[in-house]
Symmetry: C2
Subunit: 363 residues, 2 copies
């Protein structure tokens, strides 16, 4: 992606209000709109622009078409320590957040709650729900499927989503440990964003529809993203697809419909979460002491030549968040233009920003 | 590894009896010895020789020294849906198998049981316990830590184990889906085996103790294995270390002691499992139909040029198992010699095999 592109520097809080107002304008309850807006802009602030506010226009389009429910009727059912959730075709951010919220008191009781969600949609970053669990002093394992992105090993046609697995562990006096990795070499969102900004993608990311490697994001979107570490990434994507599709009763593989393809029916994305309340089996204080000691030891290992510091997963994400929360988010001109048009249609004013020519740092 | 090495072709069943007799000779209860022997030889038959019977001599050495308990007193404690296990410093194969066995009726009740195990040892392949769960019509997520193998990202000294994560899902009329991947580029066991057989290792597997890439297995064992997919593998190894070390109360990182290093105290390896009884929330028949349909669709995707078939994870493993169960296992001369000496010391006769010069196919 070009490091020199026109962008507008906008405070994160103004973007959150904008996105929230747009969603309310589309008929979403205020609290749900606030969750979604916070999730999107948090992704931008953390440096995961591909899952940020650049997604708002497509969400809005699908809500207006009735393909995603603005007012989702979410239904819950428990079976032992398992919470089953029908997302009522709501936005994934809302469905997943509500499901974790519902599961927290259950995990307080049982120590662990499995959450299987069907009938949902794209939920943004899995990290967001890990952070939600960590604020409740709990750990979370989060997985989701997504529209076909990865081909089976030995195949040439996308079948599995780029299916991320994420882990969140709370830390007492620092940002939580957040591991959030797709089972592809890169998140498909990065290719969507490159396509949108007219940039090429690095070699080794994707194959075109004939199975040949490509640096053209449009060809990659017609083809498949390469799995992480070859056959291992394939196996991981398949396991996550079983967790999120087969076990939840959601769609799987090519049956998960693509948000970006006109005319598709509801996506029926599935998520599966495992929420852990460690305080049920060890004093919370002991957990926090141990986690802190563990992290410190990781950071204290001898550094390789040229490495300035060792970061734990989630630490850089937090640093980015703090930096951009203070400085504002550089929204690329294309994305800002699209958001402004969306705001105009709905009657929400897109926030003014300072014009900015610099390295790409967000949305 | 050389494809032309001297080996002895021995039936798997004879190797199981040998390993079991050796372990009983070392004071292990018969049932536990049978589990361990079956686990080791199954790994060989499936093509995971690095976790196979070649491990028996070091297990035996440590049992004789009292560093691993032949008669482990395993203790269980439940907290809601979580089963906490103190492995009593038994062999990991025994501890993990008993823990899953204990958890199966709990998962029947609750739909899901989290199992956190401390005070255990190397457990062989995680796949073995996935298969155990699948025989009970359940799914399993299995993780374990291990002695330092992977350096933190930006570091040059091994800290995390090569920490595998595994998933098992039962299939009605075929081998289960088994995903079993280390968070390193390769399992450290493959480097141990290369060192034992005097072979070099491919570039891209490991760094030496100075942080430089190496193809010398001995230097790699003093250094670190490279994480899967770079920073992602580091993050995954760290998450698994937290699941298996921090949350279980076992050792973590450099505190996990190495089986191969003389004079170390008990390893205090930690495992963490999540056992799922889907029948608690969907009819088992529906699960099996859906899983079968899913797998068939994966196998039916268009093949890439040069690819003969698409296999699901666990399928090749099963084919290898069937083939070697029929043909016998080619045990490399070095391994056979070591096993024979061990047998002689304990008074167990090492099975005769047919001399064999061919490609390496097992132990």
């Amino acid at each position: 992606m070009s490091n020199e592109e026109r962008s507008t520097l906008i405070p994160g809080s103004a973007l959150i209000r904008f996105a929230s107002d747009v969603l309310v304008g589309l008929g979403m309850p205020e609290a749900d709109a606030a969750i979604t807006a916070d999730s999107l802009v948090t992704a931008d602030l953390e440096g995961s622009g591909s899952h940020g506010i650049s997604r708002l226009p497509i969400y809005a389009k699908r809500i207006r078409e009735g393909r995603i429910a603005a007012q989702a009727e979410i239904r819950y059912e428990t079976a032992g320590s398992v919470l089953r959730v029908d997302g009522g075709n709501g936005l994934g951010q809302v469905v997943a957040y509500r499901a974790v919220e519902k599961a927290i008191p259950l995990a307080r009781e049982a120590g662990m709650t499995g959450i299987f969600i069907r009938n949902s949609n794209h939920f943004g970053t899995a990290a967001y729900f890990c952070q939600q669990a960590c604020r409740a002093n709990m750990a979370l394992i989060a997985m989701t499927n997504s529209p076909p992105g990865i081909a089976p090993w030995g195949g040439k046609q996308a079948f599995f989503g780029t299916n991320p697995i994420a882990f969140g562990f709370p830390v007492r006096s620092g940002p939580p440990v957040i591991v959030d990795m797709s089972s592809s070499v890169v998140a498909r969102g990065k290719i969507i964003l490159a396509d949108k900004t007219g940039s090429s993608i690095p070699a080794g990311w994707a194959m075109d529809e004939h199975g040949a490697e490509t640096t053209d994001p449009a060809a990659a979107l017609r083809g498949a993203v390469l799995p992480l570490g070859g056959a291992k990434g394939y196996a991981l994507a398949l396991a996550i697809e079983m967790m999120c599709g087969v076990l939840s009763g959601a769609a799987y593989g090519p049956h998960v419909n693509n948000l970006y393809r006109d005319g598709d029916p509801a996506a029926n994305v599935g998520h599966s979460f495992i929420l852990l309340d460690m305080s049920r089996w060890m004093p919370l204080d002991s957990y926090y002491n141990l986690a802190e000691q563990f992290i410190q030891e990781v950071k204290d290992t001898p550094k390789a030549a040229g490495s300035e510091a060792i970061y734990y997963p989630g630490e850089r994400r937090h640093q980015q968040f703090m930096k951009r929360s203070a400085a504002g988010l550089a929204v690329p001109a294309e994305v800002a233009g699209e958001l402004k048009r969306l705001g105009d249609e709905i009657g929400v004013v897109f926030p003014e920003g300072a014009s900015h020519e610099s390295s790409h740092n967000g949305a």
